[in-house]
């Protein structure tokens, strides 16, 4: 399973819901293996992932995933056969056990031969460390376990593209760590596109990041390049500096500032979050990596 050099290409994607313009001409070409989609609430992340996941049609523009154009019926079907999609709020059939739910999704993914399907369900449940819980009703599982059940359904079959909408939302730090571990195990040469609010997730898992803001791409490049936007623009001070673009009180009681440092300030190494915050605080314009 080798994905193409440009596994994801979006060209001028637009999408509106009534008067709300969710996407305003999203354009990017991604060659990354694990691509993080960052952006605040309402940035258009979920809409973009739904379009790439073939769940929703755009109003304008085009998208190609794994070299397939979802607007074409044959391409769409072929893409769906190679796609694993995790919605932001995965729903579950009432009364299903973890095994039954993943089995149900496996049927939707064309696993019609029962024995082979059940073997595959057991395989993916083992991948997410849920073999022991496979017979438990989903309503009796914790939120983190439910998330893993949904992830198991995404991993069914040999999926070349995984589209994950906020997969770590609602997970505690240990569960997030476990999720990262699972993703690193199953990643391989798959293309993974995941949206998140967590810059730590992107820093830990992604080799490419796309920042969406108000329905448009504001940045695309390696995470290090996003962090580098704040190079020489992060400093600490005992008091809040009103001239700073952003500032917050750190754990040691000092104030971390992002912006244009005053003369003589000692700057710190920026994090991905610094770069991201600085980017979103800046006037709206695309920033090259």
């Amino acid at each position: 399973m080798t994905t193409s050099p440009s596994a994801l290409v979006a060209d001028g994607l637009t999408k509106s819901f009534a008067r709300h313009r969710a996407l305003r001409g999203v354009t990017f070409t991604s060659k990354g293996n694990t691509v993080g989609l960052l952006g605040p609430n309402g940035a258009g992340k979920t809409t973009l992932l739904r379009i790439i996941g073939t769940v929703l049609a755009p109003d304008g523009g085009s998208v190609r995933a794994l070299g397939r154009d979802p607007a074409n019926a044959d391409d769409r079907l072929e893409l769906r056969r190679r796609l694993g999609y995790l919605p932001q709020e995965p729903g579950f059939q009432r009364g299903f056990s973890a095994f039954e739910f993943v089995d149900y999704v496996a049927i939707l993914k064309e696993w019609t031969q029962r024995r082979a399907r059940h073997d595959e369900v057991r395989r993916v449940l083992a991948l997410v460390d849920l073999s022991a819980e496979s017979g438990r009703k989903i309503r009796r599982l914790s939120g983190g376990m439910r998330r893993r059940v949904a992830l198991a359904a995404v991993l069914l079959g040999d999926r070349a593209l995984l589209v994950l909408d906020e997969p770590t939302v609602g997970l505690d730090p240990e569960q997030r760590l476990r999720f990262r571990d699972i993703l690193s195990r199953v990643g391989g040469d798959r293309t993974v596109l995941l949206s998140t609010h967590q810059t730590e997730d992107v820093a830990a898992m992604c080799d490419e990041v796309v920042v969406l803001h108000e329905g448009a791409v504001r940045f695309q490049g390696p995470p290090a390049s996003l962090a580098a936007l704040a190079e020489g623009r992060v400093w600490f001070a005992d008091e809040r500096d009103p001239a700073a673009q952003l500032s917050w009180r750190a754990g040691d009681g000092r104030h971390r500032h992002v912006g244009d440092p005053p003369a003589g300030a000692t700057t710190e190494a920026p994090t991905l979050e610094d770069g991201y915050l600085l980017l979103l605080g800046a006037p709206a314009q695309a920033v090259p990596a």
């Binding site: 819901f17 739904r50 996941g53 073939t54 769940v55 929703l56 049609a57 109003d59 607007a71 019926a73 769409r76 079907l77 769906r80 056969r81 796609l83 999609y85 919605p87 995965p90 729903g91 579950f92 059939q93 009432r94 056990s97 095994f99 039954e100 739910f101 089995d103 149900y104 999704v105 049927i107 939707l108 993914k109 064309e110 696993w111 019609t112 029962r114 024995r115 059940h118 073997d119 369900v121 057991r122 496979s134 017979g135 359904a153 589209v163």
Partner: protein, 278 residues
């Protein structure tokens, strides 16, 4: 080999032949009786057990444990000839849930009881019965009624096939229950059949609209339009009987044909498969 049981152990050659299943029945039974009591020999047997045979046995055990037990609806559908996977997908329709079925029975019972107590009942049944199947179809599949709808949209299984599969199941159940109620509604001659063509017209209308609207919306449009029109007629004329006369049946037939053409057209342009909104 020692003379006391606790110290005797089957030799490797014997164990190997036992594990391979080539011993004669009497010797095999004797070795088995010993192995069940002797931890050391059990360990030796484990070492000789053919991996492929063990894997097969283990797979059969896990398969038996994991195999989801089908519910009543799913079992019935399989008896009717649906494949195991189609029966599972159809039986998971929200409209097959006990709550919907209970509500359906309650509405029909209310119609029957109301009919027994006055003039309103027969008309009430004839107003409601045609709309019930399309409401069931609206609940069978869609973003607000099916928790796995979004996952299903991204899967290769055909959305239109799933919608029509569930529609067939909903229709079968609703027609049987409504038909049974129609048999016992007093005061309405032919009440058991006259609502059928309008009901089929409303369902096909709902399916046609479902190409562009979520099925629940589509059912609201068709069911709402039907109820508003028929209740208005009832209020003005004092009876709904003329609606179910020959002219009404022909009109319902025309709606059915137009809806069928619209469904065919929508299917050809993949309208069921490409969603503009969720």
């Amino acid at each position: 080999m020692s003379s006391t049981f606790s110290e005797w152990h089957a030799d490797d050659r014997l164990i190997e032949r036992y594990a391979a299943g080539v011993l004669d029945p009497a010797t095999a039974a004797s070795v088995e009786a010993h192995v069940l009591r002797c931890r050391a020999c059990r360990t030796t047997v484990a070492g000789h057990a053919p991996a492929a045979r063990l894997a097969l046995a283990w797979s059969a055990v896990t398969e038996r444990i994991d195999d989801p037990s089908p519910g009543l609806v799913e079992r019935s559908l399989r008896r009717l000839g649906l494949t195991e996977s189609d029966a599972r997908l159809a039986a998971c329709a929200p409209a097959m849930r006990l709550a919907w079925l209970a509500a359906l029975v309650a509405v029909l019972l209310f119609c029957v009881v109301a009919a027994a107590q006055g003039d309103v009942g027969p008309n009430l049944f004839m107003v409601l019965a045609p709309a019930l199947p399309s409401i069931g179809v609206g609940l069978a599949y869609g973003p607000w009624t099916d928790g796995t709808y979004e996952v299903g949209r991204a899967a290769p299984y055909s959305a239109v096939r799933l919608l029509f599969l569930r529609t067939a199941v909903v229709l079968a159940v609703t027609f049987v229950l409504s038909g049974a109620a129609g048999l016992v509604v007093p005061g309405h001659r032919n009440g058991v059949v006259l609502w059928l063509i309008p009901a089929i017209a409303l369902v096909t209308g709902t399916l046609a609209l479902s190409a562009w609207l979520p099925p629940a919306w589509a059912a609201s449009v068709t069911g709402g339009t039907w109820l508003a029109a028929v209740v208005a007629y009832w209020k003005s004329q004092g009876s709904v009987d003329p609606i179910f006369g020959p002219a009404g049946q022909v009109a319902a037939g025309v709606v059915f044909l137009v809806a069928c053409l619209a469904i065919d057209r929508a299917r050809r342009v993949h309208a069921y498969d490409v969603r503009r909104f969720l």
